[in-house]
Subunit: 74 residues, 2 copies
C-alpha cells in the first residue's frame, strides 16, 4: 500500500509540475530543493514530508491541499 | 517559517481529531501509529510524512487533502 501511495503521488505531482510548464530543475530552484529530490518524488521513491509539500506547493503557486488531491486506491 | 508550518498543522490536526471525537490513543490505534507520534504532531514537533498523512486521513475518515487545508502565513 505504501509504495502505491508514493508512486501515485509521484505521477500526480509530475502532472502538476508539467501543467505549470516547469522543468524539474526550475521547480527545484524555486522550491530551494535538489533536482534529484524532485526526480525521486516523481519516481515514487520519496516519502515527502509536510514541510517539503508546503515548499513545493508554494513553488507551484498552488495551495498545499491541492498536492494531496490524488487517487491511490487499489 | 518551518516551525510555523509544523505548529499550525499541529493545532489544525488536533481540531480535526477532536471534531471526530477521537482521543490520541484511539486515533493512534486506528492509524497503526504510536500515540506519542500523534502527540508530537499536535505539539508541532513532527514533520509528518506523506504516508503517515494518508494513514491519519484514513483513520479520521477524511480525504488526505483535507489534512492540508490549514493556514500558516506569517
Amino acid at each position: 500500500m505504501e509504495d502505491l501511495i508514493l508512486v501515485s503521488f509521484g505521477a500526480y505531482f509530475k502532472n502538476l509540475r508539467v501543467s505549470k510548464g516547469l522543468s524539474q530543475e526550475q521547480l527545484a530552484l524555486k522550491a530551494d530543493l535538489d533536482r534529484t529530490y524532485i526526480s525521486g518524488i516523481e519516481r515514487g521513491k520519496r516519502n515527502v514530508s509536510l514541510i517539503n509539500i508546503v515548499k513545493l506547493a508554494e513553488a507551484l503557486e498552488l495551495p498545499p491541499k491541492q498536492l494531496l488531491d490524488f487517487k491511490f486506491k487499489e
